[in-house]
Symmetry: D2
Subunit: 341 residues, 4 copies
């Protein structure tokens, strides 16, 4: 039996992802304890807090001043992240922060500086790294099963586009959606991208274009170790959330397909039929949310480096900004061209 004290974590932001982390911390990570829920909307904070019988507040600063709280999970709106990070770091709280840290590199750098100056752990919420499929791909690469990787392919398509109102504050497809794939590319290959090229368009909904964004994109990545990667994104795959990866190398290839709600095969006079992929990220990645929180808690408790650190949060933002530039200028863009402005 484990008699170590549990890590007390307060959740800041009780929206969709905040609720997931609250449940995970309260029920699924044995070493963690939910210490409270904050949200600027009192009803939201209360609803989640009551469920687990923990305190709630509309002012997260209360948690920062509470010496019984060890860590906070930042799940609030993206533009609030860096301020909370700086305050929490100053208060000596360990930080789990949802992706993206911010859309602005200057703000990110200020936050990461604050983290570096505090004696705390900091982890960014790139949950897909903790998914069983992608872990297996990474594991097989590090075990040398495919030898030196040559080509990476990531397919990442949402089942349906978000509301236009969301699109407008999302930072654009590259910072909102592709950012997960940028992280995945770095994670799987274990090398940095030095240049990328984007071909993209508005094919799903003209309203997305009117909002200044794109809905379909193919991004070519050139890694420093020579690997060439492609990411293809669409805001709308009518058959559901399409999350596949393939890495091809000198000694073989490893690929992962979608997860489905069941394994049924139905054969009738029209053909052979099977289940669509799990609908969207809540269904598809629930286990990875648990695993990433377990990893965060373990890193804090054992005083190890969290598996997804500050640079892991910053670099995909650089890639997103480079992608937008590549599309605007129709040319390959080097990541070194992107700097805080």
């Amino acid at each position: 039996m484990n008699h170590l004290p549990k890590l007390k974590i307060a959740v800041v932001g009780a929206g969709r992802i905040g609720k997931i982390h609250a449940e995970t911390i309260a029920r699924r990570v044995p070493q963690a304890e939910l210490a409270g829920v904050a949200d600027v909307v009192e009803a939201a904070a209360r609803e989640t807090a009551v469920q687990y019988d923990v305190p709630y507040t509309t002012d997260y600063h209360e948690f920062l001043h509470d010496s019984h709280i060890d860590a906070i999970a930042i799940c609030s709106a993206t533009h609030t992240h860096t301020q909370i990070i700086q305050e929490a770091a100053a208060a000596g709280k360990h930080i789990f922060c949802e992706k993206p840290i911010d859309h602005d590199l200057k703000k990110i750098d200020a936050a990461l500086t604050a983290v570096a100056q505090a004696n705390i752990k900091f982890q960014v919420g790139f949950n897909r790294r903790f998914d069983a499929n992608f872990r297996k791909v990474r594991q097989m690469i590090t075990e040398g099963k495919i030898g030196q990787p040559h080509i990476l392919r990531i397919t990442s398509r949402d089942p349906a586009p978000p509301p236009i109102a969301y699109i407008k504050v999302s930072g654009g497809i590259f910072l909102d959606m592709t950012i997960h794939d940028f992280d995945m590319a770095r994670y799987l290959i274990g090398s940095e991208v030095e240049e990328l090229f984007v071909a993209a368009g508005v094919m799903v909904d003209p309203a997305i274009g009117k909002a200044g964004d794109l809905d379909t994109a193919v991004i070519t990545l050139k890694f420093t170790n020579g690997v060439i990667g492609t990411i293809d994104n669409s805001r709308q795959a009518v058959y559901g959330y399409d999350q596949r990866v393939e890495v091809f190398g000198e000694k073989g290839m490893v690929a992962v397909g979608n997860n489905t709600p069941d394994t049924h095969i139905y054969a009738n006079a029209d053909g052979i039929h099977s289940a669509k992929p799990l609908y969207f990220f809540l269904e598809r990645y629930m286990d990875s949310y648990i695993a990433e929180m377990q990893a965060f808690v373990e890193a804090v408790v054992t005083d190890k480096e969290p598996p997804v650190g500050g640079q892991d949060g910053r670099i995909p933002v650089v890639m997103g900004l480079a992608a937008r530039k590549s599309w605007e200028e129709n040319r390959p863009v080097r990541l070194s061209e992107i700097s805080p402005t």
Copy 2:
């Protein structure tokens, strides 16, 4: 938010399956609350109880006398089931009972009589009915997707045989292992088996034969609605737990395959490779344990008939006895030939 009082359930028997139900009740069924753990071995009861901060005892009668406890989950040794059922029924506790109820029809009938005379809910732990794959098959059949079923095929193979000591008290392969498949057959087809024929042998380990049991079997089932079924069992599939079902009918066929830990495909100079099935029932059926307990709790709370009742617990035992008789006499045996002795 749900403000209904939670159903307080005590677990009797803190072995492997008891621990699963304790965790499920404590953490995964929002409407339930773990009320205590009993085991004749004090250390076993204590270990599980401490984990969830609940009382424990070596004498389950304490729970039967405790008016705050609504229900018990019987997870103790099979031969103790019917007595506990009778006592719990007399005490007015709702009962969830692990399979099989007993190996002896007379004892089963006495227990079911006690249940019938009490105003309680009674559910038997045939968890596989709550598995997403098999639910899908049943759903497609009831929706008429395959029309009238003609042929049923169940493949059910364990990854490794249990210890010989367990074999000796297991009731034999038909009451220990095939019993799940007998239940599955009835569940999927929605009709009763009237006759069965067994071909079987000792192929995996001669020690199993010396212990008076079989390790490999093929059972042919004839249903009252005309469907013909086969079950094939082995105590040892070296590639892992093999749990497949296929139902063929006038308008089509539906089949479910195994679940795997991930969806990876690995291609190298030797061939194309993918993951083995999830290892055994704990890995494979964890979600079904949660779903069956949710169903039990819901049946009690909403005063509905539990989905797996007393006859659902009794009939597979009859089938197991008929199977053994068929093997011994090398002839088809009708279920009507089997009666309490």
Copy 3:
């Protein structure tokens, strides 16, 4: 380059299967030459003969008297097989004979005696042994990949039943359809069946029952080496010709699925869809017809034993008769109970 003289083969019977062998001999087996076509219906003989610019006749005896002809391929109605075999053997012609040799064991034995007394090669047309899928299964077994086999499963379902007129002269499902599966069972396991048990019914079409036949059957096989097998047959799988095999053993399992016209996967809002199996035996087994004829020609040319001999033709007929008896008497029947009458 191969300058050996080609084996001259005349085809007797220009129906569906006769045309296939004519094409195969004329075009696809380099070592063979089509020497003529006989059919009691002159138009049928002519149509095929003209296509390859070879002689035709309504009286196959002409071919038996023609010293330039080396072999005959018997593709006529089943009841004519044994007489032609005896005459051809007497004439010293090598014989390829379609399955079944006959429905009557006495007639089969007379024919096989004639073959044994002549210095000729004799091969029976169990073409499925030459299919790439089933060859692979057999190869893996003989290589020891699954160790000692324990369980065999054969699924063999036609896309649609034949006309009732055909049913009436077919010899019944066991001699017409299952006979291929009986051969497959023997081929794959490399051991003889000593006892079988049948569960069967009329589920597809009552007219088949009125004609005295069955349309759905599950046959359990017990082999002398301990393997237990099941065959499941249906006269109508609405999704097409379903031809699968699985062999499970101590070290693993090997299975083969259906062949499809293409490998497409189509994903839309309704699900994931793929191609049905190839429609029926002409589409599915065309390559095996070529391979079996190549094997026959090679056996003759190199003076080796053909891979499917007289006993391979006889035993499945015994199994078919035993299967019918098992169904009629609802009991396991030993093959030793069946003898020429």
Copy 4:
């Protein structure tokens, strides 16, 4: 029965692909007749000719002067194609020409002009269009099954690189290997590419780089109808010939995978294993060679436009030249930048 006179076709060039077309014409296309074989190496011409009992020559002009010959199939070295085309066109012979027509656009244009001035049929040997998998994809797109296409993905990887000597005269990876994929992209999407971008490298064998070529490439295609495509090529996939396509659109996605020699699945203690793809183009595309020749013959006999015409032969060469330019200049290149020099 078909009593139309057969189309008499002479094969020019008796190398690997010439032998395939000779066999196809002689044996597999009922409406065609092999009229002769030419090769500058007499032994090569003779070997193939003897096999089918037809005349041979070292000077193909003999066939051009032979009024009994209707058509020629040009299978000689690439640099000889355009001269033979011009001569054959002048002689009024229908022409089937292997890909690529030439590496030089001026020579191609001269040849296509000659073809245009003659009253003949001209077809280029992009055989993959006649493959069942790719035909199915095209068919589903034209039937509207995926609505407007958005993203195209082609994976095309050889099992092993050709000899360095071949690499040196091949025209480079884009004109030798990718050219098939360029054709496939145009065929599947039914629209022209207007711009492309290449990321590529030497990853398989440094000797390929020393020979001035690349062995690994990812090409992004922008079509005039908005579709974005990617092709990924490697000269060496250790698991065999990898030939896959996926088209994603507004209403769904269709993809085709590899063909395998059999459908076996082997499960053992190490995992689940299946067959590698068919080894290389001879195994993989044999049926497509037959189908393309049938299409050519049918086009001539019925006086229709062949399905793969002169522009279909020219444009992929333009794309190959644009690809090389894109790689050299590391920028997107428009096809309109490429003109005869």
